[in-house]
Every structure is written in C-alpha cells, then in structure tokens.
Amino acid sequence: MADGVKIEIVSPEYLVLSAEAKSVTVPGAEGYFTVMGPHAPLMSTLRPGFVTVVDPAGAETRYFVLGGFADVNNGGLTILAEQARPASEFGRTEIEARITAAQEALNKAEGVDEKMAAQAELDQWKNLLLEATSTGVAH
C-alpha cells in the first residue's frame, strides 16, 4: 500500500500544484479533513481557508483556496478552486478587506435568511483571520 497521496490543486487559470504528499489537510464545507494514503472516495465543497500539504520529507506548505471542491478518488486528491495560490502570497490585508466587505453586506442585509448568510460569511472570514494569525501564515 502506498503511503503517500497524490495531490493536485487546480485553479481556472492554471495548475497550481501537482505533487506527491504525505498528507493533505483540506478545509471542507463541514470541517477540516486530512487525507493520508488511500482514502475512501469523497467529494466535498470547500470553504475559504488554507490547504496544508505535508510533503514526504515532512515539510509543510500552505495554500489559500476559495470556492470550489475537493475530489478524493483512487487517483488521489484533486482540489478545484476558483482561487488558489500559495499562502505566502496571501496577505493579512486581503482577509481584513474581506471582513470589511462582509460587515457591510451584513449591515445591508434584509430578512432573516440574508442576514444569516451574511453573518456566516463574516464569521468565516473572522475565523480565517484568527487561524492565519495563529499559524503565522499572514503577516
């Protein structure tokens, strides 16, 4: 049994990453999950967050992904994201801009459903900021 997992991160514009990894942690819509070695077929939508790729040598690389889905099958793990780039290119200011935008959307929202959606969006970005700060990704 192979130990690693083949990971591909694809954005609409280009193939961001194609490599062998020891494990990959993915921000699924219903929580983080980690794929190691052969995994049962799974398909999950993504929420904005960081994908952590641990290469066979044990080094971690993070990628920021936004909107899309992850597909785990025999061939490995494929992440299709509307935006995907190395976390090092992703600054703190960007998350803060998103938070401001989400806050504005919440202020403008009318009706329960819209408010709930806007609040969820805002929380999502706030959590992401916390996470980015604690892991030292964004600066």
Binding site: M43, N73, E82
Partner: protein, 295 residues
C-alpha cells in the same frame, strides 16, 4: 499609363504596408503563443469540472427535483445568445464567422416565433450584429480595458447571465465562440450553457470504477447546486480563452497573407517600373541619335 514617379511612390507605399503587416504578424504570433499557453493551462480545471458534473448530473436525469440550472425552466421560448468575438478587426474572417453563426441561429429562432436576446462580448460582434438585429441586443460587454484575460472577467459575465436567469429573463442560453483547433483553422462553435449539458462522464468512469460508493459532503444536491453556477463561469472563461487564441491565430494567418500579397504586388510594380524606365532610356537614345543624324 502611370508615370515613373507614380510607380515609384506606389512601390514605396506598398513596401511600408508590407512592413506593417509583417510586424503585426509577428506580434500576433507572440501573443498567440501566450494565449495558447493560457488556454492549455485552463484545460485541466474545465475538464475535471465537466467530469464531476457529468457524473453528478446523470443521477438527476429526468428527475423533477433537479436543480433549475440543469433541468431548465421547462420551456424554450426565450433564447439568450452570448456572442463572444474579438475587440479588434484585421483578423480575416474571425469576427464575421462567429457573428454569422450567431445570426443564422437568431434568424432561425425568430422564424420559429421565439424571442431572441443577444449579449455581445467584444466590440466587433456588436458592430456586425447591429445590422438587422440591433433591437435584440440587450447588452454589450467590452473587453477593451482587459489587459490579461483572467477568471475574474469571465466570472463577471457569468454572474450577469445567472442573475438574468434567476430573474426569468430567458430559458436557454447559448454561447458562441471560435474553438481553436490550429493556427489556420478556428471553428465557430455554439455551446449551450443553460440548461447545462454535459457529455456522459467518460474519463470519470475509469477513475470511479472499482472504487466504492462516493461519500458526499455536504450532500450530492448541495454540491451540484454549488457547482452548476461556477460551471457557467468556467465555460465562459474557457470560451474566452479559446476565442483569444483563435483571434491571434486568425490574425497571424491574415497578416501572413497580406504580407505575401504585398510582396507579389511589389514584384509586379517593380517589373513595370523597370520596363518603363527602359522604354524611357530607349526613347531618349533614339532622340539623341536621330538628332545627331539630322545634323
């Protein structure tokens, strides 16, 4: 018969035209390479998306609870034609062949008593379709300010189309663009984007065969609903990239032809210039000799 001076002027003007077309050809060739790379780089995403959606949507075939983007509105009275062309001309038949395909379809739909709405992307398509179909054009999107074609551009167009669909402004959307098959051949293509149509998942079948049942998170329906709108943007993005590559391909071919024609023209003009010069010299000699003989 043009005079020697006229011929000389004409030759030099054709020469400068040739220089321009030659330069345009080289610029188009350089841009084509980049556009082609972009189109190739975008392929994996679109293909994976198509495979996954193909697999998912098969399960919903013919079911009444299928998402609207997949099942359609149940009628096909109002058609939206999204016509993607270039921003510039001088590319042979590139713009007009896309516009012609769109016009044919529009005319046929109108003859069947359907309502036609046209959304043009790129200035040239709008210019051509304005003749005869101007009252059907509902919006024109210009890509003139767009330097490098990014996903964001396609997303904006996609969201616009989706918003119109949500508002019930059309039932069927078709995208017109030129598929890039090679530098000398670009195929005008019509592709239906709403309701979504997918090829039966061919590649996906191998990946899935032997694998156990897929687990979906959140669930199949939610994933499908999340992906279908994205897929519209992805298809538009892909079409724009293909179009871009096709445009430069067509421009390159057109400019290559123009350069060759200019070369032929120069040879012909040069020939008649030389003949005339010779005739003139002969004439002058005769004049001198007969003058000398008369003495």
């Amino acid at each position: 018969m043009p005079s020697l001076k006229d011929l000389k002027n004409r030759i030099s003007s054709v020469k400068s035209t040739q220089k321009i077309t030659k330069a345009m050809q080289m610029v188009a060739a350089a841009k084509l390479r980049r556009a082609q790379e972009a189109a190739v780089a975008a392929r994996p995403y679109a293909e994976r998306m198509g495979q996954v959606l193909g697999g998912l949507s098969q399960a919903y075939e013919g079911r009444p609870d299928a998402p609207r983007l997949l099942a359609g509105t149940g009628q096909d009275q109002t058609h939206l034609l999204v016509v993607a062309t270039g921003e510039r001309g001088l590319a042979g038949g590139f713009n007009s062949s896309i516009a012609r395909l769109a016009r044919e379809h529009a005319t046929r739909l109108l003859a069947e008593g359907k309502t036609v709405k046209i959304l043009t992307v790129g200035k040239k398509g709008a210019d051509i379709l304005k003749r005869g179909l101007s009252k059907h054009i509902i919006e024109q999107i210009s890509l003139r300010e767009v330097k490098t074609l990014g996903y964001g551009t396609a997303q904006e167009i996609g969201e616009k189309v989706l918003a119109m669909y949500e508002a019930g402004e059309f039932d069927v959307a078709t995208l017109y663009y030129a598929r890039f098959s090679s530098v000398i051949s670009q195929v005008p293509t019509a592709q239906q984007i709403i309701p979504a149509k997918f090829d039966a998942a061919e590649g996906d079948a191998d990946a899935r065969s032997g694998s156990a049942i897929y687990e979906y998170e959140p669930d199949e329906e939610a994933i499908l609903e999340d992906l279908l709108p994205r897929s519209v943007s992805v298809q538009i993005f892909r079409a724009l990239l293909e179009n871009n590559a096709s445009f430069f391909g067509a421009q390159m071919t057109a400019m290559d032809n123009a350069t060759r024609n200019a070369g032929e023209m120069i040879t012909k003009l040069q020939l008649s210039y030389n003949r005339q010069r010779q005739a003139q010299i002969t004439k002058e000699l005769i004049e001198i000799i007969s003058g000398a003989e008369a003495l």
